[in-house]
Every structure is written in structure tokens, then in C-alpha cells.
Amino acid sequence: MDTAVLIQSGLTAPILVPLIGALLAFVIRRWASPIGLLSVAALLGAVILQVPELIADGPQRLAVGGWGAPLGVDLYADGLSIAMLLMTAVVGLGISLYAAACFRGTPARGQAFWPLWLLLLTALNALFLSADIFNLYVTLEILGLSAVALTAIVGGADALVGAMRYLLVSLLGSLAYLLGVALLYHAYGTVDIALLAERIDAEPAAWAAMGLMSAGLMLKTALFPLHFWLPPAHASAAAPVSAALSALVVKGSFYLLVRFWVELFGEIAGGVATLLGLLGAAAILWGSIQALVQTRLKLLIAYSTVAQIGYLFLAFPLAVGSGIMAWSGVLYLALSHALAKAAMFLVAGNLLRFGGHDRIADLDRVVQRLPLSMAAFALAGVSIMGLPPSGGFVGKWLLLESALTQGRWGWAIVIILGGVLAATYVFKVVGYAFTQSENPHQAQPVPATMEWVAFALAVAAVLMGLIVSQPLALFEIGNPFRIRTELAAP
């Protein structure tokens, strides 16, 4: 395959566009911000162009360099990958617009931000498109290293210590994953997911690999009780970085867990699905309670991420009996959480810029002074709580329905209880925003772009509740969840 074919295939664009942007932004520092904005806008265009092609022709596979499986590096896109790419590009564009305004006063920080941010997008897109488990290891490492460096760019003891802990966790997760890859390659002689799926068997090597890879990815996804590193890292980073970490980065490793579960481990796992669900349920309760007792807004939002990640893991036990409904629900939840959580962290950044602090109790009548930001927080809160109409509602509804049709009341109670707790911590913030504080403070102006971006993302999270059928149809292209429809046939 020559270079022309490689470029003609739209599958490489989501990886090449931000990668070239990252290199240019690194070399031409003065223009880093316009280069970054242009690259992310081009990325969104490239991903949107893929959608009609995917709907018309079904899943796409590209053997990069013409080698093909089992040795070559294959790219593969189905409805699940495209949904994740779209989420990354949309939220990425919002975060980029916000960052351009946010770093205008501190150009040195902006110049450090853009190359790393574009590299992070490159790694995420490559992760969603890769079809072999070793290439995925490389994307996981690029993702982890760029995320850690982004956390550290604000400087200061909190951010640096948070970044260091994040790096240690990320490297540990990657090494466990790589050891799993080594075992799978040795046992089955390939790293291509599709070929592995044909060959994998319930035997010790596969179980050991499943344990190592799942543990590594759970650590990176911050599933309870492996979540300890997330709140300090996400809460101490700069606002656009916090938004990117909570909205996008944790979804990368979760996506891999779903893929591996459906393709490789689901059949051989036995009771592990219930264990993952129980950890998810514990994360919902623990994360929500921790969010409630936080006094700082960014930590509250970070613990809310821990809780919402818990929801994503409820799909593993529920999918055993109801298949597509649980998976679609949890994907819907992941996409709308990305929009809503990005909006929340950006609002927190606005409040921090406005008042110079993010102590919840001292939020001084910000409703009158930053009405757009508080509206964004409330709308994002609607989606996080799961109230209709919002993307969060659709996701939780599908999960609830799949629990109830199977008569599994325990899971249903956890889903509802998590929503009630989320409502409590969202209203705690909104309540303080209306009241006059005992320590009134000097207010700094907040650029309009920063307010409008947060508002637009929050509105998008609510709109996800109104356009339900198209995303659900998109998820099913290429049957990523391996729902067997031929069961009725002999």
C-alpha cells in the first residue's frame, strides 16, 4: 500500500491530523494556539465525514503499511469506535476553545499545553481505532504520559504531587497490561483482537492475562477501590486539563475493558462480571458520599467522576442477561457524562478565575454575577443526576430497564440511590451559589468564550436526551457487542 492510499483512507485522519498539529504546535510555538484550534476543528470534520461512510458500508478495516493481521498493525472502526471518536472530537473542540481563552494571559503555559493536548487526542483516537492489543499498549502509554504532563503544567506542589501519583499509577497499569499481552501472545501467537477472539480458550494463560489486563485497565479507569489517585490529579490540574482528564481520558481505558470483555474475556470469565458490578456499585455510593462532604468544588466534581465511573461498570453483570440494552445504556451514559463533566469542570475553572478560590461555602451570589456559568452547571447537573430530558437520563433508564426486566432489584436500587445522591451534591453547590457569602470578595472578569463553551457543552448533554434513536443506531453498526441474532437458526 503506498502513501496515497494511506492518506485517502479516512480512518487514519483522526490519528494523523492531531499528530501533525502537535508537531507543528511544538515547533512553531508562537502560533501554537491557532494551530491547535485548527487541528481540532479539522479533526471534528474528519470524524463527521466518516459517519456516512460507516452507515453505508458497515465497519471499516485498514491494514496500515499493507501488512495485515496477524503481524501488521490494523485499524478498525465500527459504531462503537465512531461514537467514541465523535465524543472525543466534540468535547475536544469545546475544551480547545476554552483553553485558547483561558491561556491568553499566560502564553508560556499555553505553549506547553497545545502540543501535549494534541498528542493526548492523537493517543485517544489511535486507541479507539486500533485492532491489536500491543498497539493498544503503545497508545495507552502515550495517553498516560501526555495526560500526566498536562496535569503538571500549572506547577505548584498540589499539581506536581498529583501528577507524580498519576504517573506511578499509570505506569503500573501499563506494565500489568503489557505482561498480560505477553502471556496472550505466547499462548495464541497473535496480538490481533479478532484472531485472539477465535483462538482464546478457558485455560490458565487466558485467565492470568485477563486478570493482569483487567487490573491494569481498572487502575487506569479509577474503579473503586483503585480510584485514590483520581481526585488529587483531576482537581489540581488547570481547568481545561481537568475537563479532558475526567471527560475523555478515563473513557479510553474503559472502552478497552468493554472491547476486551465482549471479544475475549466475557465467555471465559465466570463470576468476574458480578465482581466488576459490585465494585461499580461501591464506587457509586462511596464516590457520591465523598463528593457530598467535599468543601472544594473541583474535588466535589472529581469524586462525582469516581461515582459516575461506577455506573459504567454496572453494565458487566447486567449485559449477561440483556446484552445490547445494558451496553447501549452504559455507552450513552459515558457519552453524556463526557459532555456534562467537561462542562462542570469548565464552570469550576470560571468560578476559580472569578473569585480566586473554589471553596463551595464561599461562592458569593455567583448566580447574579455569572448567570451563564451557573446555568451550565445546573444543566450539566441535570444530566449527571439522570433527570429527563438529558443524556444521563436515557443512559440510566436503559440500565434500569435492563435490571428490572431481569428482576435484579439490587442493581436497580443502586442506580436510583446514586441519582438521589448526585442530586444532593449538585444542589449543595447551586444552593451556595444563590446565597450571600460571609466573606465577600473582589471579582475578576471571566472571558465570554469561557462561559459560552461551558454552557454549550452542558446544553449538548441535555440535547443527548432528545436525539436518542440516532446514537443508538450508530452504536449497533458492525455489531460491536457481538449480540447473537442467529440463535433462532439451527
Binding site: 502509554e141 506542589a157 504531587v161 501528577a163 504517573l167 501499563s174 506494565l175 505482561l179 505477553a182
Partner: protein, 102 residues
């Protein structure tokens, strides 16, 4: 025990040894070194098991993986070391705050 299995078991041993050091040592330099020991363990597993082919000719693919892994490990170590220096500069100690007592 064939040499390949011997290498693989040694690699697993290094991995566990590194994991232990990572957990018990508080100093960040020791933690970073622990990662390098764990990484070497994984590479030894890959390289060792590559010798277990029916034909007896070692499989070249794991070697390519090890080279990629080494590149990643070098980059990660460089980032970790520079971050450690920044942490030490900002907090006055190359240990994470809640682990200083050890």
C-alpha cells in the same frame, strides 16, 4: 525446565520484586527504579518465551515488542525523573506527602 521457561519465570520474579519495592519504598527514585525492574521483568518474559517455538528458531515478533517497550520505558523514566525533581523543588522532599513517615 527448558531455558525459555527459566527466563520467563525469572522475568515474573523480577516483576513481583519490582512491585514489592514500588509499594514498600517511599522515596520516588526507588519507586522509579522499581518500575524499571518490573519493566525488565516483562521484557524478559517476552524475550524468553520467544524461544519456545516448534521449529527452535526464536520468534522475532516479541523482540520487536521488547524494543518498543524499551523506548516507552525510557520516555516514561525521563518524564518521571524530571517530575520527581520538580516535586522535590516544590515540596522540599522527593517523597509523596502522605508517605513521608516511612
Amino acid at each position: 525446565m527448558t531455558p525459555a521457561v527459566f527466563y520467563a519465570l525469572t522475568g515474573l520474579g523480577l516483576f513481583v520484586l519490582g512491585l514489592h519495592a514500588l509499594i514498600v519504598h517511599a522515596h520516588l527514585l526507588r519507586k522509579i527504579l522499581a518500575f524499571n525492574v518490573m519493566g525488565s521483568g516483562v521484557f524478559l518474559v517476552l524475550a524468553g518465551l520467544a524461544g519456545r517455538t516448534p521449529s527452535g528458531i526464536p520468534d522475532p515478533v516479541p523482540h520487536a515488542m521488547v524494543i518498543t517497550g524499551i523506548v516507552v520505558a525510557v520516555a516514561a523514566t525521563a518524564l518521571a525523573l524530571s517530575l520527581m525533581l520538580r516535586v522535590a523543588g516544590a515540596t522540599g522532599s522527593a517523597r509523596l506527602p502522605d508517605e513521608t513517615e516511612r
